[in-house]
Subunit: 321 residues, 3 copies
Amino acid sequence: MKHFLSLRNIEPSSVLKLIDRAIEIKGGSKPTNLEGKILGMLFFKRSLRTRVSFEAGMAKFGGTAIPISVGSDSWDLETEEGIIMNGDKTEHVKEAAPVLSRYCDILGVRSAPTIGKKEDNILNSFAKYSEVPVINLESNLEHPCQALADIMTIKEKISRPKKMVLTWLPQVKATPVATAHSVSMVGPFLGLDTTIVHPPGYDLDPDFLEFSQNIAENFGGRLSVKVLENGADRDKLFSDSDIIYGKSWVSKAKSETEQSEEFLKYSSFKVSAIPKNSKFMHCLPVRRNLKVSDSVLDSSIVVDQAENRMWTQLAILEDLL
Amino acid sequence: MKHFLSLRNIEPSSVLKLIDRAIEIKGGSKPTNLEGKILGMLFFKRSLRTRVSFEAGMAKFGGTAIPISVGSDSWDLETEEGIIMNGDKTEHVKEAAPVLSRYCDILGVRSAPTIGKKEDNILNSFAKYSEVPVINLESNLEHPCQALADIMTIKEKISRPKKMVLTWLPQVKATPVATAHSVSMVGPFLGLDTTIVHPPGYDLDPDFLEFSQNIAENFGGRLSVKVLENGADRDKLFSDSDIIYGKSWVSKAKSETEQSEEFLKYSSFKVSAIPKNSKFMHCLPVRRNLKVSDSVLDSSIVVDQAENRMWTQLAILEDLL
Amino acid sequence: MKHFLSLRNIEPSSVLKLIDRAIEIKGGSKPTNLEGKILGMLFFKRSLRTRVSFEAGMAKFGGTAIPISVGSDSWDLETEEGIIMNGDKTEHVKEAAPVLSRYCDILGVRSAPTIGKKEDNILNSFAKYSEVPVINLESNLEHPCQALADIMTIKEKISRPKKMVLTWLPQVKATPVATAHSVSMVGPFLGLDTTIVHPPGYDLDPDFLEFSQNIAENFGGRLSVKVLENGADRDKLFSDSDIIYGKSWVSKAKSETEQSEEFLKYSSFKVSAIPKNSKFMHCLPVRRNLKVSDSVLDSSIVVDQAENRMWTQLAILEDLL
């Protein structure tokens, strides 16, 4: 069964082909196989872009998306194997996944992130027991749909990009790391000179960094990581950068309380200004004036990124169906 | 950008044209441009008629409506400009509105009423930042879709109407004033002799009354307001009335506690009986036997009003798209 | 008005015709009249199979299903006649049902079970006041869509079945009895030798047993009830059984606390193993290893049952529209 779970288990050239196809679809080429198809989407947490971009994308081309809020619309789901189910979870993915496969042509899963946990239990359980392809709508570890949309947006909006900085942003509460893992691949897939910058202790998972490093080398780029204490030092990295991508993420090495306290300590990581020739990117939602100033966001390309979620996802759907 | 936010900024003749078109559509004329179109609907509060009438209307003519419950399906939204977003609201309308515009052809917004506040922050923020037309699905101040449906229903159901009474109804908790503002326009748009009657301190906003007065004069009708203490006196106004429209609404001049206490004081405003030749109207939902007796509701035209929500909204959608 | 509320008020031969039609539809025959039709579904409690099977089924054949979560998407609904509505319920079914009838071609209602109550207030109120056909999506007393799917699954999966056991299963909290009532009819409609087995005090409603008895006699089968204290004795009934159907259900004769305590007492009713030639069935969701062991579920036909919910419901929709 072909799933879309991670960019790490797809041929790099296939990733770029999906982008090319997304650009074609946006340009007016109709996906060939969505008519009459049904996408079931399970949301273990809230969503705006993911939910509406898939619903609208399917509807535009004659398909139907069925969003299901797990726990309110339907039952809480168990993923652990062999467990005696005497707690709050009423149904096991071993039933839910094949049952939904009988109703739907394809499934999407947005799992609830488990801060600090290094497994994608929910997503992997669905992939194991589904009888139809499964799309990762953001898991504990990765958000591959976001990475595709970002690669497409850079190709569209920035001619001959060379340098990209992915910077950690201050936060009011612990924010999942999945999108940061996926965005670490964006510059590498485009062969850019990519720098990831964050305060001490906010290291991304070494497995993802190693993968991104390999991709960078494969496409003639470079990936480096800088650990800084101070936003002013960070700002120096911005010069000559075509792209400045902001994202908060959690530290696996620190407790939630510790991280809450560090919000003040690292508040200088807010992006208040960027060079005139740089473009600012963010996956959204973003807390204005806490993480990024109004002026930076108002001239950014974040809305284009969000729009391209729809077009790249249509390419993924066409490819899987 | 053409929006549908308020009847106060549309040519009065255009309002009546929308009604004529709605009657045509109900009679079998197909809206010309809904096929393949997508309506995104944001609900900041619960809904039955608005939600289902738009979903069904779009589906009947080949379009798709995507309802989004703000705060549960998706993120809580900020509308204030320049604010540092360090509270509960995760996303600003400055992002949400243009992003949804990229997925949808048209947006609808039902905002949560802020009792006593005189602004339509949420609706206006969406109208400002959306890249596609926005429909008001009931704001803090107005419910223009309801007014259109009511005008259509009177045209359909009552031949040569002359007199209409809009009466305040007793309530168990403070009820928003938006629908009352919009219904104050219904008689005036039809050139009726309209009387609004309520207990002391429950005055409608003078801006709306002035607008309705002007519309009444424009169409050869009359608008007057009566302040009464007692339902028995109110009932005298019912004689010769073709239409008796009931609606509870909040007082801006009184605290919620004060209004709760006044429920008993003004319980005589319940409509227990109406003259034989009168028709009773209400926007729904209605608390039976607290606000209006079973016998009055059972012979009313409230279900027709609700049905006409769908037909008038189809005329609005066709006009905007 | 033709509704689909209960198998008890349909000609037994018509029940079997619906099954035959469902098998045809699954085999590729297109339902003739779902194109452009709208099904409104009211959920007073959570659902996975019911919700998605109807949404997917309608979408597959050009229709649209609109799910409404009562109390969160829309208002809490009153069903009592003549009541003064001064409590939590904002709208009466006397309005909600006819209003939805104007938007939708057919309505479905999943009511919240009232443990121990012997009426179907919510469903019956909708059937009384709806202007379009109403489908029972599981009421307080019955789950007729489940029974149809189960009859179809046995016809499909088991050649020449003779014997069926419906066994009570241990539970962690009081589980509604509606599905057990409906499953008690499954063997009888197929002319099987059916045994219902449960601990003392967990008797099904005599009205349903009597109906099932009559159906059994009508189709040349037999229905008997065994009351046992112990799962080991129960297991003896499994030998020679083609079908073992498991289901927990509540006792009307016992308080919730009493039943919670009895979970331990009757934990031996868990199904841990079944004969090699038997097939295990369950309506889902099921708590694995509490009610039924992994090994029994992993070789069961529960996913086929769930799939056939969609096909039998399409036959019902076609019949009613």
